[in-house]
Amino acid sequence: METFAFYFLSISIVALFAVTVWSRNILYSMTSLAAGMVLISGLFFILGADFLGVVQLIVYVGAVMALYAFGMMFFDATGVVKEKNAPAMTVFILGGLTALMLVVIFAAPSIANGAPAFYPPMAGANNPQAVGLVLFTKYLVPFEVAAIMLLVAMVAGIILAGKKMDRSLSKIKDAELEGGEAKDSK
Protein backbone atom coordinates (compact mmCIF):
# COMPACT_ATOMS: atom_id res chain seq x y z
CA MET A 1 0.00 0.00 0.00
CA GLU A 2 2.79 2.41 0.89
CA THR A 3 4.63 1.44 -2.29
CA PHE A 4 1.57 2.10 -4.43
CA ALA A 5 0.95 5.45 -2.72
CA PHE A 6 4.56 6.52 -3.16
CA TYR A 7 4.69 5.71 -6.86
CA PHE A 8 1.28 7.23 -7.55
CA LEU A 9 2.15 10.45 -5.69
CA SER A 10 5.65 10.80 -7.12
CA ILE A 11 4.64 10.22 -10.74
CA SER A 12 1.78 12.72 -10.37
CA ILE A 13 4.04 15.29 -8.71
CA VAL A 14 6.73 15.02 -11.38
CA ALA A 15 4.12 15.30 -14.16
CA LEU A 16 2.42 18.31 -12.55
CA PHE A 17 5.68 20.15 -11.93
CA ALA A 18 6.80 19.41 -15.49
CA VAL A 19 3.59 21.08 -16.66
CA THR A 20 4.42 24.01 -14.37
CA VAL A 21 7.86 24.50 -15.88
CA TRP A 22 7.07 23.83 -19.54
CA SER A 23 3.61 25.37 -19.86
CA ARG A 24 3.24 28.53 -21.96
CA ASN A 25 0.24 29.77 -19.99
CA ILE A 26 0.82 31.19 -16.52
CA LEU A 27 -2.63 30.18 -15.27
CA TYR A 28 -2.04 26.52 -16.19
CA SER A 29 1.35 26.49 -14.53
CA MET A 30 0.04 28.12 -11.34
CA THR A 31 -2.81 25.63 -11.08
CA SER A 32 -0.55 22.64 -11.62
CA LEU A 33 1.93 24.02 -9.08
CA ALA A 34 -0.85 24.23 -6.46
CA ALA A 35 -1.94 20.66 -7.23
CA GLY A 36 1.65 19.44 -6.93
CA MET A 37 1.96 21.12 -3.52
CA VAL A 38 -1.16 19.27 -2.31
CA LEU A 39 0.29 15.95 -3.46
CA ILE A 40 3.63 16.72 -1.78
CA SER A 41 1.79 17.08 1.52
CA GLY A 42 0.56 13.53 0.85
CA LEU A 43 4.20 12.41 0.73
CA PHE A 44 4.76 14.06 4.12
CA PHE A 45 1.81 12.16 5.59
CA ILE A 46 3.27 8.88 4.30
CA LEU A 47 6.60 9.76 5.93
CA GLY A 48 4.91 10.25 9.30
CA ALA A 49 5.58 14.01 9.34
CA ASP A 50 1.93 14.89 10.01
CA PHE A 51 2.51 18.43 11.25
CA LEU A 52 4.75 19.27 8.29
CA GLY A 53 2.07 18.00 5.92
CA VAL A 54 -0.56 20.24 7.50
CA VAL A 55 1.83 23.20 7.42
CA GLN A 56 2.52 22.49 3.75
CA LEU A 57 -1.22 22.51 3.02
CA ILE A 58 -1.95 25.67 5.00
CA VAL A 59 1.10 27.76 4.13
CA TYR A 60 1.89 26.70 0.57
CA VAL A 61 -1.49 25.88 -0.88
CA GLY A 62 -3.47 28.25 1.31
CA ALA A 63 -1.20 31.28 1.62
CA VAL A 64 1.50 31.25 -1.03
CA MET A 65 -0.64 30.13 -3.94
CA ALA A 66 -3.45 32.48 -2.88
CA LEU A 67 -0.89 35.29 -2.79
CA TYR A 68 0.23 34.39 -6.33
CA ALA A 69 -3.39 34.26 -7.44
CA PHE A 70 -4.03 37.74 -6.05
CA GLY A 71 -0.73 39.02 -7.42
CA MET A 72 -1.69 37.82 -10.88
CA MET A 73 -4.55 40.31 -10.82
CA PHE A 74 -1.92 43.00 -11.29
CA PHE A 75 -0.49 41.33 -14.38
CA ASP A 76 -1.94 40.62 -17.77
CA ALA A 77 -1.49 36.91 -17.15
CA THR A 78 -4.15 35.30 -19.28
CA GLY A 79 -2.23 35.61 -22.54
CA VAL A 80 0.40 33.24 -23.83
CA VAL A 81 3.92 34.23 -22.82
CA LYS A 82 6.23 35.01 -25.68
CA GLU A 83 9.75 33.96 -24.84
CA LYS A 84 12.99 33.53 -26.65
CA ASN A 85 14.30 30.32 -25.17
CA ALA A 86 17.80 28.94 -25.07
CA PRO A 87 18.37 25.60 -26.85
CA ALA A 88 16.49 23.07 -24.73
CA MET A 89 19.06 20.26 -24.81
CA THR A 90 21.94 22.38 -23.50
CA VAL A 91 19.80 23.76 -20.71
CA PHE A 92 18.48 20.33 -19.77
CA ILE A 93 21.96 18.78 -19.58
CA LEU A 94 23.37 21.77 -17.66
CA GLY A 95 20.47 21.76 -15.19
CA GLY A 96 20.67 18.02 -14.61
CA LEU A 97 24.43 18.03 -14.16
CA THR A 98 24.32 20.96 -11.73
CA ALA A 99 21.61 19.28 -9.65
CA LEU A 100 23.57 16.01 -9.62
CA MET A 101 26.72 17.85 -8.53
CA LEU A 102 24.85 19.61 -5.71
CA VAL A 103 23.36 16.31 -4.49
CA VAL A 104 26.80 14.63 -4.49
CA ILE A 105 28.41 17.58 -2.68
CA PHE A 106 25.84 17.63 0.10
CA ALA A 107 25.34 13.86 0.37
CA ALA A 108 29.03 12.89 0.46
CA PRO A 109 29.80 13.94 4.08
CA SER A 110 26.77 12.19 5.56
CA ILE A 111 27.47 9.01 3.57
CA ALA A 112 31.12 9.05 4.66
CA ASN A 113 30.55 9.75 8.37
CA GLY A 114 27.07 8.43 8.98
CA ALA A 115 24.83 11.14 10.38
CA PRO A 116 24.13 10.78 14.11
CA ALA A 117 20.56 11.53 15.24
CA PHE A 118 20.53 14.64 17.43
CA TYR A 119 16.85 14.83 18.31
CA PRO A 120 15.19 11.41 18.12
CA PRO A 121 11.40 11.55 18.51
CA MET A 122 10.28 10.93 22.09
CA ALA A 123 8.72 7.61 22.93
CA GLY A 124 4.97 7.82 23.38
CA ALA A 125 4.59 11.24 21.77
CA ASN A 126 2.86 11.61 18.41
CA ASN A 127 4.35 13.74 15.68
CA PRO A 128 2.88 17.21 16.49
CA GLN A 129 3.78 16.79 20.19
CA ALA A 130 7.35 15.75 19.40
CA VAL A 131 7.73 18.59 16.90
CA GLY A 132 6.46 21.10 19.45
CA LEU A 133 8.81 19.81 22.12
CA VAL A 134 11.87 20.16 19.89
CA LEU A 135 10.75 23.41 18.22
CA PHE A 136 10.13 25.28 21.48
CA THR A 137 13.24 24.05 23.29
CA LYS A 138 16.16 23.42 20.92
CA TYR A 139 15.01 25.66 18.07
CA LEU A 140 13.41 28.51 20.04
CA VAL A 141 15.82 31.23 18.84
CA PRO A 142 15.52 30.35 15.11
CA PHE A 143 11.74 30.21 15.62
CA GLU A 144 11.67 33.77 16.99
CA VAL A 145 14.04 34.98 14.27
CA ALA A 146 11.73 33.42 11.67
CA ALA A 147 8.81 35.26 13.25
CA ILE A 148 10.66 38.59 12.97
CA MET A 149 11.63 37.74 9.39
CA LEU A 150 7.98 37.12 8.51
CA LEU A 151 7.02 40.46 10.10
CA VAL A 152 9.69 42.28 8.08
CA ALA A 153 8.52 40.51 4.92
CA MET A 154 4.93 41.51 5.62
CA VAL A 155 5.87 45.18 6.07
CA ALA A 156 8.05 45.04 2.94
CA GLY A 157 5.25 43.47 0.91
CA ILE A 158 2.76 46.12 2.03
CA ILE A 159 5.13 48.98 1.29
CA LEU A 160 6.27 47.62 -2.09
CA ALA A 161 2.87 46.61 -3.44
CA GLY A 162 0.87 49.46 -1.95
CA LYS A 163 2.31 52.72 -3.22
CA LYS A 164 -0.32 55.47 -3.03
CA MET A 165 -1.62 53.93 0.16
CA ASP A 166 -0.58 57.11 1.98
CA ARG A 167 -3.88 58.68 0.88
CA SER A 168 -6.81 57.31 2.76
CA LEU A 169 -9.50 56.48 0.23
CA SER A 170 -12.29 56.56 2.80
CA LYS A 171 -11.67 60.20 3.70
CA ILE A 172 -11.92 61.44 0.11
CA LYS A 173 -15.31 62.31 -1.30
CA ASP A 174 -16.52 60.22 -4.21
CA ALA A 175 -16.61 63.02 -6.78
CA GLU A 176 -13.11 64.13 -5.81
CA LEU A 177 -11.87 60.57 -6.11
CA GLU A 178 -13.33 60.17 -9.58
CA GLY A 179 -11.80 63.46 -10.63
CA GLY A 180 -8.43 62.31 -9.33
CA GLU A 181 -8.77 59.01 -11.17
CA ALA A 182 -9.53 60.84 -14.39
CA LYS A 183 -6.46 63.01 -13.88
CA ASP A 184 -4.30 59.97 -13.25
CA SER A 185 -5.53 58.15 -16.33
CA LYS A 186 -4.35 60.99 -18.56
Binding site: S10, V14, Y68, P120, V152, A153
Partner: protein, 100 residues
Protein backbone atom coordinates in the same frame (compact mmCIF):
# COMPACT_ATOMS: atom_id res chain seq x y z
CA UNK B 1 9.45 -1.60 0.09
CA UNK B 2 10.21 2.08 -0.33
CA UNK B 3 13.57 3.15 1.06
CA UNK B 4 15.32 6.43 1.66
CA UNK B 5 16.93 6.25 -1.79
CA UNK B 6 13.55 6.39 -3.53
CA UNK B 7 12.66 9.64 -1.77
CA UNK B 8 16.07 11.17 -2.44
CA UNK B 9 15.87 10.27 -6.14
CA UNK B 10 12.38 11.84 -6.29
CA UNK B 11 13.71 14.96 -4.55
CA UNK B 12 16.62 15.28 -6.98
CA UNK B 13 14.28 14.82 -9.97
CA UNK B 14 12.04 17.60 -8.64
CA UNK B 15 15.07 19.80 -7.97
CA UNK B 16 16.29 19.23 -11.54
CA UNK B 17 12.88 20.23 -12.91
CA UNK B 18 12.99 23.42 -10.87
CA UNK B 19 16.55 24.18 -11.93
CA UNK B 20 15.73 23.67 -15.62
CA UNK B 21 12.80 26.03 -15.11
CA UNK B 22 15.02 28.70 -13.56
CA UNK B 23 17.56 28.41 -16.37
CA UNK B 24 15.12 28.09 -19.26
CA UNK B 25 12.19 30.40 -18.58
CA UNK B 26 12.40 34.11 -19.31
CA UNK B 27 9.24 35.16 -17.46
CA UNK B 28 9.87 36.39 -13.91
CA UNK B 29 6.69 34.81 -12.51
CA UNK B 30 7.76 31.44 -13.95
CA UNK B 31 11.12 31.87 -12.23
CA UNK B 32 9.29 32.27 -8.93
CA UNK B 33 7.29 29.10 -9.58
CA UNK B 34 10.49 27.18 -10.36
CA UNK B 35 12.03 28.45 -7.12
CA UNK B 36 9.03 27.12 -5.20
CA UNK B 37 9.54 23.73 -6.87
CA UNK B 38 13.18 23.65 -5.77
CA UNK B 39 12.28 24.59 -2.19
CA UNK B 40 9.67 21.84 -2.14
CA UNK B 41 12.20 19.30 -3.41
CA UNK B 42 14.49 20.23 -0.53
CA UNK B 43 11.54 19.84 1.86
CA UNK B 44 10.82 16.33 0.57
CA UNK B 45 14.45 15.32 1.07
CA UNK B 46 14.51 16.79 4.61
CA UNK B 47 11.29 15.02 5.62
CA UNK B 48 12.47 11.69 4.19
CA UNK B 49 15.85 11.82 5.92
CA UNK B 50 14.16 12.90 9.16
CA UNK B 51 11.79 9.94 8.96
CA UNK B 52 14.38 7.31 8.09
CA UNK B 53 17.03 8.52 10.58
CA UNK B 54 14.49 8.94 13.43
CA UNK B 55 15.69 12.51 13.89
CA UNK B 56 13.38 15.52 14.12
CA UNK B 57 16.03 18.06 13.07
CA UNK B 58 15.17 17.52 9.40
CA UNK B 59 11.54 18.46 9.96
CA UNK B 60 12.63 21.57 11.86
CA UNK B 61 14.69 22.74 8.90
CA UNK B 62 11.75 22.00 6.61
CA UNK B 63 9.61 24.33 8.75
CA UNK B 64 12.16 27.11 8.46
CA UNK B 65 12.34 26.55 4.69
CA UNK B 66 8.56 27.03 4.56
CA UNK B 67 8.90 30.28 6.53
CA UNK B 68 11.67 31.52 4.22
CA UNK B 69 9.58 30.63 1.17
CA UNK B 70 6.58 32.53 2.53
CA UNK B 71 8.57 35.71 3.18
CA UNK B 72 10.36 35.37 -0.18
CA UNK B 73 7.00 35.31 -1.93
CA UNK B 74 5.75 38.36 0.00
CA UNK B 75 8.77 40.52 -0.84
CA UNK B 76 9.29 39.12 -4.33
CA UNK B 77 5.71 39.63 -5.41
CA UNK B 78 5.86 43.24 -4.21
CA UNK B 79 8.98 43.84 -6.29
CA UNK B 80 7.37 42.05 -9.24
CA UNK B 81 4.35 44.36 -9.10
CA UNK B 82 6.65 47.41 -9.03
CA UNK B 83 8.57 46.08 -12.05
CA UNK B 84 5.35 45.46 -13.93
CA UNK B 85 4.10 48.97 -13.17
CA UNK B 86 7.36 50.43 -14.46
CA UNK B 87 8.02 48.33 -17.57
CA UNK B 88 4.62 46.84 -18.40
CA UNK B 89 6.06 43.37 -18.91
CA UNK B 90 7.63 40.53 -16.94
CA UNK B 91 10.03 39.39 -19.67
CA UNK B 92 13.58 39.21 -18.34
CA UNK B 93 15.05 40.26 -21.70
CA UNK B 94 13.26 43.60 -21.44
CA UNK B 95 15.01 44.42 -18.17
CA UNK B 96 18.58 44.03 -19.44
CA UNK B 97 20.42 47.33 -19.46
CA UNK B 98 23.89 46.17 -20.49
CA UNK B 99 24.27 45.31 -24.15
CA UNK B 100 26.59 42.49 -25.09
Amino acid sequence: MIGLGHYLILASILFSIGLVGVIRRKNLLMLFFATEIMLNAANVAFAAISSYHHDLAGQMFAFFIVAVAASEVAVGLGLLILLYKKYGTLDLDEFTMMKG
